[in-house]
Symmetry: C2
Amino acid sequence: MTDTSALPVSALSEGELLARFTPLLPRGRATLVPTGDDAAVVAAPDGRFVVSTDVLVEDHHFRRGWGTARDVGARAAAQNLADIAAMGAVPTSTVVGLVLPPATPVGWVEDLARGLADVCGPLAVGVDGGDLSAGERLVVAVTVHGDLEGRDPVLRSGARPGDVLAHAGTIGRAAAGLAVLATGTEDDDGAAAAGSGPLATGTEDADGAAGSGTLLAGIADADDDAAAVVAFLRPVPPYAAGPAAADAGASAMMDVSDGLLRDAGRLARASGVEIVLDPLADSLADDLAALAPLAARLGTAPEAWLLTGGEDHGLLATFPAGAPLPEGFRRLGTVRAGGPGVVTAPQDAPHAAAVGWDHFRR
Amino acid sequence: MTDTSALPVSALSEGELLARFTPLLPRGRATLVPTGDDAAVVAAPDGRFVVSTDVLVEDHHFRRGWGTARDVGARAAAQNLADIAAMGAVPTSTVVGLVLPPATPVGWVEDLARGLADVCGPLAVGVDGGDLSAGERLVVAVTVHGDLEGRDPVLRSGARPGDVLAHAGTIGRAAAGLAVLATGTEDDDGAAAAGSGPLATGTEDADGAAGSGTLLAGIADADDDAAAVVAFLRPVPPYAAGPAAADAGASAMMDVSDGLLRDAGRLARASGVEIVLDPLADSLADDLAALAPLAARLGTAPEAWLLTGGEDHGLLATFPAGAPLPEGFRRLGTVRAGGPGVVTAPQDAPHAAAVGWDHFRR
């Protein structure tokens, strides 16, 4: 095959582009009929499947200038698979729809497929369908599926007074990374950032997970900047913690996509309870300490990242009081009877605004 | 609830918009946990599920000026559910991702949900998940699921020499409708058509399936124009014919989305066979006669609509010779050994170009 990665997608037919894209996608352990026919066939041994869908829009959910296509693909997969884990299920299969501006380099699309594979492959999750369309703006639409393996699904609505609130995964790290990226690109205009050369076709490192190297070399001047940016570009949700929480008797669970305060409020509202967060000095002292130098350098408070930063896609769950928390979970607070949906901020961060991300109104 | 249908979506939070959208979506017979949590849970009694995804982009796949939001929703559902039928499965569940420009009226989004419900509701198919995002251009991303009920999936690759090629559903009608719409709007510029008042919020007719009335009154001057436009805006794939074909021993099947010649070519290529189409005067005489007056008025040939017109989403299948065709299927040709992927055009339309729709290169 000649190297046509730098060609725009408009130089290829849809069939030719699919022929470049599809072989890069992993087949999963549940894949029975892979992508390529009218539809795929996927095993659902439990007799049920879990399904969730998400749409990522360029310049709303990601910027091409902030990372590689491989990062975009990896993040799209990870944030969706977290929704499967949040039900207590194991992910089995994804399908992906792409809207591509005609000038998008073919190599960018291939790198996006590699990013999907970076996340799905090790989990034995198949990318079992894809649709490619032309459009004015890049859109990545991902639908994910999982298997409950006989478990009851864990809903947001099951928290009861007396339960303990706990969390697995990172918290505040993606928000810190976003803050670093926003600082690094604030003099660029968006168009220039989006069209920059080496990023447009990505970087194929020997280490598949480190596609952001080129970018970081340009804007980061400290290890914690780099780690934060990677946390934003390549979140690693604690997938196994979801089924583990279900097995441990979690009464409610959700993934944290819009920030701890806001998502805890959703869980509290769905369950008809109030949540009281522990002092951060008790629950998240290590995170506060780890984020403090970077926050100080950027002139912000690490408490804000911990309480309102989204996109780490950790798992927030409630457990009956006294039950041992499963591995990976740490206590963040308690559930009590009270105004449904109320979240009482930590005593040591009393003025934290309960604000998350809203796609339409901000 | 106050009437806020005319407000732009940017006036509502994502949660408020979801609260308007979600109650309009049907719950399906397979829906176990409906939309509203991190993910939905859907029954898969067969132990497998069939899945397909599709992305529709404004001004590429639909124009707001050509029909109502309800039409867009109905068409998005129908064309995807046809992919499930084409595997020999019955549809069970869909999820939908929407990208909405901030100025989109709330009522437009509600009407789109009603259009999804128009198609999914009567089939007891749930709309079990939705994601709403802001963006510059309207995008509708639909993922559909089905249950094989114990059948083997019918792939594109199973056609064998000696098989009969047959088709269920309409053919050429959507292409005729698109031709009418293109004639009716060719003096408009796209932006004006897309923003036109009454269409922007749709028409809530007592008859749920007739959302296109306002439009047709403006541009159509004959019953066959109107019927053709409805065939394009509201295709009705023969959903039940898919499982029926599988039960009748279909060796290969696919839905016709890009035109008979092109899709027959795909089936022939996947199966490693050649397809010879019967003379249209034998196979599609009624369709030729029905489309002839409209084609004459628009200065085109009905043969082109029959052979290259897509988007009716009928089902193309092959059956062993001598097997009785299931109800709804009519013979279109035969399968023979030969250059894989070759489709021999009908003797009475020898110069028909084997051209379909390509999203990237035309």
